[in-house]
């Protein structure tokens, strides 16, 4: 009997390991520095994680479908610059849908290359990372983009507003996470994403149009990027051409940390949200401990490596398994 409970605890740890690690981590930091669990601090962390989080939601679909998306960072810069520029030219009410349309076009292009032309997603999106950066610079002429009249616009609502006492970025993140979680776990489309990423051949034999499913994951990803760009632009009302630089790796780290396998076929929206929060709280905890913020780049890298390692170790059943 005693053995049985021991085993079920082990099983629970293996399944919910990421959640447990998160809680342990929170407790340790909270003891080290009580300010860490201050409600203002927590809300601050979640708010600053919202942009990363929104992007990670879309990338979760791409990764479960068996592909990568490294273009989200520079695509987010693009969205931000475009919406700020259009804001002064055609007004916010038109700027927002205009920016979404342009970003979705980029997503559709990537989806076409990866889904219909069957090009390797790593190469395609890595290439798009720099191509979109070039596009952004061309669009802006290399200048920072600013809204002329920052006082008299309702555009700051998405990044700075709050409803029912909750900051709007958190609200957007939560709603989008809830919605996409339903899409992934409850709709036929979500099921097909798992099938395509889990075993593409079996998906084909089941009559699933793989190319279309992959295409749709990139559309979804670009939609999330556009949303993140909107929050970013609205928060700062002005931006450099490089605001999203490096985010693609953090996004990927959050997704993997949440337990989605890079091989495709596994992961959930909920786990990605946990991954995003872990990343946010770790970075925040380190800041509170007095580490310079650029130490975060190194820390993020360490976290990615750890997460990938644990993912592989869980599959092979052992930590140490060198290439023969």
């Amino acid at each position: 009997m005693a053995e049985l409970t021991k085993k079920s605890i082990g099983g629970f740890l293996a399944k919910q390991g990421i959640l447990v690690a998160f809680l342990v981590f929170m407790v340790v930091f909270a003891i080290a520095n009580p300010r860490f669990i201050d409600i203002d601090n927590i809300s601050g962390v979640i708010r600053s994680s919202a942009i990363l989080g929104v992007m990670a939601l879309g990338v979760t679909f791409v990764v479960i479908g068996g592909n990568l998306d490294l273009s989200v960072g520079s695509m987010m810069s693009f969205s931000t610059i475009v919406v700020l520029d259009l804001h002064d030219k055609i007004g916010p009410a038109l700027a927002i849908p205009g920016m979404f349309a342009m970003t979705l076009c980029l997503g559709a292009f990537i989806g076409f290359l990866v889904g219909y032309l069957k090009l390797n997603s790593l190469i395609v999106t890595l290439g798009m990372l720099s191509a979109i950066h070039g596009l952004t610079l061309t669009y802006s002429g290399g200048q920072n983009m600013d809204i002329a009249d920052k006082q008299n616009t309702w555009f700051d609502f998405f990044g700075q507003g709050s409803m029912l006492g909750i900051p709007v970025p958190i609200l957007i993140f939560a709603l989008l996470a809830a919605g996409l979680s339903l899409v992934l776990s409850k709709t036929p489309f979500g099921r097909k994403v798992y099938a395509v990423g889990g075993n593409g051949t079996a998906a084909t034999f089941s009559g699933i149009p793989r190319a279309r499913v992959v295409f749709m994951t990139y559309i979804l990803s670009s939609f999330c990027v556009a949303t993140a760009g909107l929050i970013q632009a609205s928060r700062s009302l002005g931006s450099q051409n490089t605001v999203g630089q490096g985010l693609e790796l953090e996004v990927l780290a959050a997704v993997i940390l949440g337990g989605a396998s890079l091989l495709g076929g596994s992961g959930t929206v909920f786990k990605t949200v946990i991954g995003v929060l872990i990343l946010g709280f770790i970075q925040n905890g380190l800041l509170l401990m007095g580490l310079a913020f650029y130490a975060q780049y190194v820390v993020t890298w360490v976290i990615i490596i750890l997460a990938v390692w644990l993912d592989i170790a869980a599959k092979r059943g052992r930590l140490w398994s060198p290439i023969a």
Binding site: L182, A202, G207
Partner: protein, 497 residues
């Protein structure tokens, strides 16, 4: 024999998985120079027992003795170093590597500075391959080999050490008759070298041909051991499933409906040429031939996976072009593919989701997939096919091989197709379930389905078919009705004589 020490002995082995007691105190031993069959229904625990022996799983209780020395098998490599070699049921080869690299994976011969000694590697490998009489060499990429040949690579792996015991887990499931002969020679050779052989199979005729003793497992428990010479199929079956089976030929005839599927002069490059046949509603047509005769390719063409280079496909008398599997499914065609792991299942997905995958679009309530409707389908086919799983949430990859196959069959039966094509439907399925699946096929036909059964097992084809199409090297050589077919006639027709 009883005075000898066993090559290997397992005692009181217990192994549990969440929700499953896979092994419940099993004891088992194999003598040097003996071929010992391990039999039991799908999910009885055969593979699990062997994985414990091969160091892949650690038992919860019980002990392993090698030549009466208690031993702990901590890993497959360690088991191999102790002379216990395991040839798996599910192939586990690296497609991108050469045959030689696969065979010596983890123990490649080295030169100074840890460089791989390729010359030696290839030479050693070719020596082993020569004894197996295969048509490929050490440098061939494994991904380019047929499933049968990949199986031979697995076998070659076993021959790299001086083994004390070799475990074959359903080795013949995808071998041709000629390849089986080679395999049996290999086994006889091992036997003469005093190696203990453990042989798992659902095929009675093999068991009676090559084994000395038969041990039976049922629901994770040891049921007894019989001397092969002193027993018969009935007794073994009785021990395995607790009842008798009907192994007769199909003599049932019922009235046939109109032609559901007609194929006229269908060709696909060199894979098959000028193939013509019809299948009527209510009819089971068996396709018999050797592996590589083009039967699977015909099925894939009808299912929209290959583009024909000539000829016509007619459904209900109307010419159609099937562009994709989705198209085929919409027209009421189902295909149970031959490779369950590669083509039939998403192993990381649960049982229910796998089963309902082709029809997930039609199972919605509002925008969402309806849990209830899905579970209803799963429950229905779990009962109908007797699928052993702790519940629909179980990942398909955790099921026993035979139960995985049943999930694939359930997946396509639940589509209620007009034309059902099954490619090697009972590969890896135990005798009890096999006859259930055969009965099910007959039953479906009686209900008016048009069924094509592709099989390399003659008893199966004879048992289920109303008509048999024999193929050789991409061409239809002859057609038989169930009444006129003889075994000799069939053998001639598929050998191109």
């Amino acid at each position: 024999m009883s005075t000898q020490t066993p090559a290997l002995r397992l005692e009181g082995i217990v192994k549990t998985f969440p929700g499953v007691r896979a092994l419940d105190g099993v004891s088992f031993s194999v003598m040097p120079g003996e071929v010992h069959a391990l039999m039991g229904e799908n999910g009885a625990g055969k593979s699990t027992l062997m994985k414990v022996l091969g160091g892949i799983y650690q038992p919860d209780e019980g002990q392993i003795f090698i030549a009466e020395d208690a031993t702990v098998m901590s890993s497959p490599l360690q088991a191999k170093s102790k002379g216990v070699v395991f040839i798996h049921q599910e192939l586990s080869l690296a497609d991108e590597l050469s045959v030689a690299e696969n065979i010596y994976l983890g123990e490649l011969p080295r030169k100074s500075l840890g460089r791989v000694d390729w010359e030696k590697l290839y030479a050693q490998t070719d020596d082993i391959l020569k004894t197996l009489n295969v048509g490929f060499n050490a440098r061939t990429k494994v991904g380019d080999l047929s499933i049968a040949n990949q199986q031979m690579v697995e076998i070659a792996r076993a021959l790299t050490v001086e083994p004390r015991a070799v475990i074959f887990d359903e080795p013949t499931a995808s071998l041709t008759d000629a390849e089986k002969v080679v395999l049996f020679e290999v086994i006889a050779d091992l036997q003469s070298r005093d190696v203990g052989v453990i042989y798992i199979s659902h095929r009675m005729e093999e068991i009676f041909k090559i084994t000395d003793r038969i041990s039976v497992l049922r629901d994770g428990q040891y049921r007894g051991t019989l001397n092969t010479k002193e027993t018969n199929e009935e007794e073994v079956t009785q021990l395995m499933i607790g009842r008798k089976l009907d192994l007769s030929r199909n003599e049932m005839t019922h009235s046939l409906g109109p032609v559901a599927l007609e194929v006229r002069n269908l060709s696909c490059g060199k894979l098959f040429e000028n193939v013509s046949f019809t299948v009527r509603e209510g009819e089971v047509v068996g396709f018999y031939g050797l592996v590589g005769a083009g039967r699977t390719e015909i099925a894939e063409t009808i299912f929209g996976l290959r583009e024909p280079s000539g000829g016509e496909i007619l459904l209900d008398g109307e010419g159609v072009t099937v562009h994709s599997p989705a198209d085929a499914i919409a027209r009421g065609i189902s295909l149970v593919p031959e490779d369950r792991k590669g083509q039939g299942l998403v192993l990381g997905m649960n049982c229910r989701d796998n089963m309902t995958l082709p029809q997930v679009d039609d199972m919605t309530a509002g925008p969402f997939v309806s849990d209830g409707a899905e579970i209803a389908i799963f429950d229905q086919y779990r009962d109908k096919l007797d699928i052993r799983t702790p519940g629909w949430r179980q990942m398909v990859g955790n099921l026993s091989g035979g139960n995985q196959q049943k999930i694939v069959i359930g997946k396509w039966l639940s589509m209620h197709p007009k034309v059902l094509i099954v490619d090697e439907p009972t590969r890896g399925i135990d005798v009890g379930s096999k006859s259930e699946i055969h009965n099910l096929i007959r039953e479906l036909a009686a209900q008016g389905y048009a069924v094509i059964v592709i099989s390399s097992e003659m008893p199966e084809v004879l048992h289920v078919s109303d008509r048999i199409v024999a193929m050789y090297a991409g061409k239809v050589t002859r057609e038989f009705t169930a009444a006129e077919v003889t075994e000799d006639g069939l053998i001639q027709a598929i050998s191109g004589l």
